[in-house]
Amino acid sequence: MIRARELTKHFKVHRRPPGFAAAVRSLVHRKYEVVKAVDGVSFTIARGERVGFLGPNGAGKTTTLKVLSGLLHPTTGEVAVEDFTPSRRQAGFLGKITLVMGQKSQLIWDLPPSETYAMNRAVFDVPQAQFDATLGELTDLLELGPLLGKPTRQLSLGERMKCELAAALLHRPTTLFLDEPTIGLDVAMQVAIRDFVRSYNQRHEATVLLTSHYMDDVVALCPRIIVIDQGKLIHDGDLRQLIKTRDPDKRVSFTLTQAIGDGELAQLGALLARDGQRFTLRVAEREVPAVIGQLLGPLKAADLAIEDPPLEDILREMFGKHRPEAPA
């Protein structure tokens, strides 16, 4: 269970213009401004939920995750994770959570991952039998076998990320904060990590809060999404419902073997993209059956696909609308 109520986190940031003179001036006189990284955010996540935490760069996602995992003290507001106050960083709390940051490593750089695992076993006080069983399970699922004895610095990014995940899960946490866990990974590895996180969530009834710039991660893993922008919560709810509410039209893609006139195409739907004889149309949901009938019948279309609008487009529109107009 994760609960945040009116959470705010402010940072004091030193600002100075570029240039040598400004650098010298800043030695004696510094201008600071307060940045509201998180500004009055409230939400509750039940045990076992998988929630996507979305927002543009600088929206406050990572700051929120750091507050929830106890790395940062909130400026105001209340936070509870697994019935603990994260900022107190009690051993009981740290034993129940984990934070995976795609851009930060917890593995000891010059030693093989097995040494980090041994250290984590000791500091999290994991019984040897449980450690052996968990490591065996993670080794099978993530195919870690050949990587365990290789110095971390010699692992590829994908290999390191798999080892990071294992290090983060050896103590069997029940709350997972995943910050860009698939960043920089190839598609096959992204899919493997997604499958693994879903399987871990189901087997251990673990709560997952995920941030990712790859919308495929979010769509594949998270039935619910929380969207923040400029530190404020702008949506909290079901992912499919959000898509349906924001843009109920479907994307219909197909390939034609015969020529088609612009007028005939416009009658089917609004053209979004064309690549040779491959078309993508925007079609109102209620008209989809009729359009499919036309495409499969007289037009003899091939490779037909009907999809929801991409989450990226919806979010782009949301962030655009939410932001105030820039002054002229």
């Binding site: 003290h73 000791a122 006080d125």
Partner: protein, 265 residues
């Protein structure tokens, strides 16, 4: 928490040894940077060749500086630099997610390096005995017995002081300048550059500053005959400064962690 920490210590020490071995080239260079006492020994033995200098004969200087070198090798550490870098880069975040106090985790990692420093220090101890003979070292069994706890307190107080400087990185981001200032004061007031009695008018001040108890105290126990009053002052001073420096270190840490901005990512 304490029981968990005690159970974790053997593994932390083992990992610390593995890390020390992994960074062996850097480690050897770091050991070599601590050989300043050898230079000072050459200088002062030349000065004392003509006549003893303020009571120190060449043999006394040899014994003093070799003892200083050994104690420094066994008590020096680089935790302030390590912490500063980890705070600046945001790597400290990962350390904060482990249920063990970072003071213990860093201490175990640095303590693990001690046996490797002994590889250098112990042969030097043999050279010391052979070159300066019994006259340069104490033969009092009580003093020799007290060298071990004195060495442990010197290590802990040095570690606590550098941990406090490292924790200042939470406030200042970069603490290299402070660490350099510390090292300048340490070199002067700890007896690293020259025996404290040779400091002249500031010897009285140096006698009560923490630096003496980080280095000079065990060296004094090894090289100069001490009456019981002086033994009590040395060990009592070490205990008091260790307690004070640990309190400061943990207080700075507690206050600093509240300000941690976990930069990056």
């Amino acid at each position: 928490m304490i029981a968990r920490t005690v159970r974790a210590l053997p593994t932390l020490l083992r990992i610390g040894v593995a890390e020390t071995v992994a960074y062996r080239a850097e480690f050897l260079v770091w050991i070599l940077t601590m050989t300043l006492p050898l230079i000072m020994m050459g200088l002062w033995t030349r000065v004392a060749e003509v006549a003893p200098f303020q009571g120190y004969s060449p043999r006394d200087f040899v014994a003093y500086y070799l003892a200083t070198l050994i104690i420094r090798q066994l008590t020096g550490n680089w935790v302030a630099w390590q912490m500063s870098e980890e705070v600046r880069s945001g790597a400290m975040a990962m350390r904060l997610l482990r249920p063990i106090h970072p003071f213990v985790a860093y201490a175990a990692s640095h303590a693990a390096a001690i046996p490797f420093r002994s590889v250098i220090a112990l042969p030097l101890a043999i050279v010391l005995l052979a070159s300066s003979g019994a006259s340069g070292l104490t033969s009092d069994p009580l003093q020799l017995a007290l060298v071990v706890p004195s060495l442990a307190l010197a290590w802990l107080s040095t570690f606590a002081c550098l941990f406090a400087i490292g924790a200042l990185a939470f406030f200042l981001t970069q603490t290299m300048a402070i660490a350099n200032l510390y090292f300048a004061l340490f070199s002067l007031f700890s007896g690293y550059l020259l025996p404290l009695p040779l400091l002249g008018p500031i010897a009285g001040i140096a006698a009560w500053l923490p630096f003496r108890f980080m280095l000079s105290a065990p060296v004094e126990l090894l090289t100069r005959p001490q009456d019981h009053h002086h033994l009590a002052v040395l060990l009592g001073g070490q205990l008091a400064w260790t307690a004070i420096l640990m309190t400061i270190a943990l207080s700075v840490w507690r206050a600093g962690v509240r300000r941690f901005e976990a930069v990056g990512g």
